[in-house]
Symmetry: C2
Subunit: 210 residues, 2 copies
């Protein structure tokens, strides 16, 4: 197959839209989920995010990367003021509605995009009823990236709401069985097919399919 | 379907292995790639990572999250000393070899796991010849997470080596066509099937399939 090579000079001279598509593709497949927040006036907000990272298991921590605050960022501002947010995974039955939350709405995305706010176990931020895997998180820390002004927000998982049939005896969650999807680039959505789970890697043996 | 609820008290009392499996599953599908580095003695290292995040397109930046330095972290130390690393996406033809790099090897994972180091365009860190999408990155910034001692390393993309047939006119990279896989939890690997690409979201119209 024929290969192409781009150097940093070429990248910097690309038209902006193509560069955004290209660079957003290069981190590979991403998770994609809806972040639910509420402001001090109890107004809800729902936004789609694909920049999530596992930060640690004990305490259980997730990081979300936010773009620079050059335009109004309701989600980030709500997390900073109310210190809580929900994270709701997406399946193919409502992915178009989830994508639609990224438009510039003047009122709550729940209503505008026909998704249902749900309040569970006294958590004050709204979950998404349609989602099969929902997390309630508490704000822990914000790190600011100097080189381009993005922000990494770290939350601790306080609540997990999950379909019982997708969680295994060993704690592994079968996202695929739950219909949870993955994304690539800015606008591409995909279902998955498992190749295998592999055994813990050791030097003296090839990894085995579990 | 029946739902299960875990609160933070339950999570903190889980046995460690189950908690690690569970929490590592909760960020959803992840990209998975091989990071190639070299130390000051020109010894190569190759390690599998799934904690990647897109940080920005201009300049083109990628973040990698590293666990705390409680055990020897060759990849992180090599990046800190040599200021360069490569990121090589994985397809199903060599995913078992890629997984095997996570064992505790005493010499280079390239040789031990039967993967081929490749040196391109004077970049000093090794790429993985088997990979259809390879990036050469230069270290830019390190952020330290206070709450659990993890580190976010940010690199700028200096080189892109890509199969010509997976890059579209609009810059979008068709990872699926390239056979690039996604991962979930600690040990599960998946191929993908596109549902659709969706149009840029606007309030006055439903997102359309492109």
């Amino acid at each position: 197959m024929s290969k192409t090579y781009y150097d940093s000079r070429f990248i910097s001279k690309m038209d902006q839209r193509s560069r955004v598509n290209l660079i957003n593709s290069l981190t590979g497949f991403k998770s994609v989920s809806l972040i639910g927040t509420i402001n001090s006036q109890k107004r809800t907000n729902l936004a789609i995010f694909s920049q999530l990272v596992h930060v640690g298991a004990d305490p259980p921590l997730i990081g979300v990367l936010f773009r620079p605050n050059t335009v109004k960022r309701d989600t980030l501002e709500n997390i900073q003021s109310e210190k809580i947010f929900t994270l709701n995974h997406i399946d193919s039955s409502f992915y178009k509605k989830a994508h639609h939350t990224s438009a510039r709405w003047n009122s709550s995305e729940f209503e505008n995009c026909d998704l249902t706010p749900e309040y569970l176990n006294s958590f004050k931020a709204p979950f998404v009823e349609e989602s099969s895997l929902k997390l309630g998180l508490e704000f822990k820390e914000q790190l600011d990236v100097k080189v381009n002004g993005t922000h990494l927000v770290i939350g601790e998982i306080m609540q997990i709401h999950i379909e019982e049939n997708i969680i295994g005896d060993d704690g592994f969650v079968d996202l695929e069985k739950g219909g949870i999807i993955t994304s690539s680039g800015l606008d591409s959505y995909h279902v998955t097919n498992r190749i295998a789970r592999l055994s813990y890697a050791k030097p003296n043996a090839e990894p085995k399919e579990l």
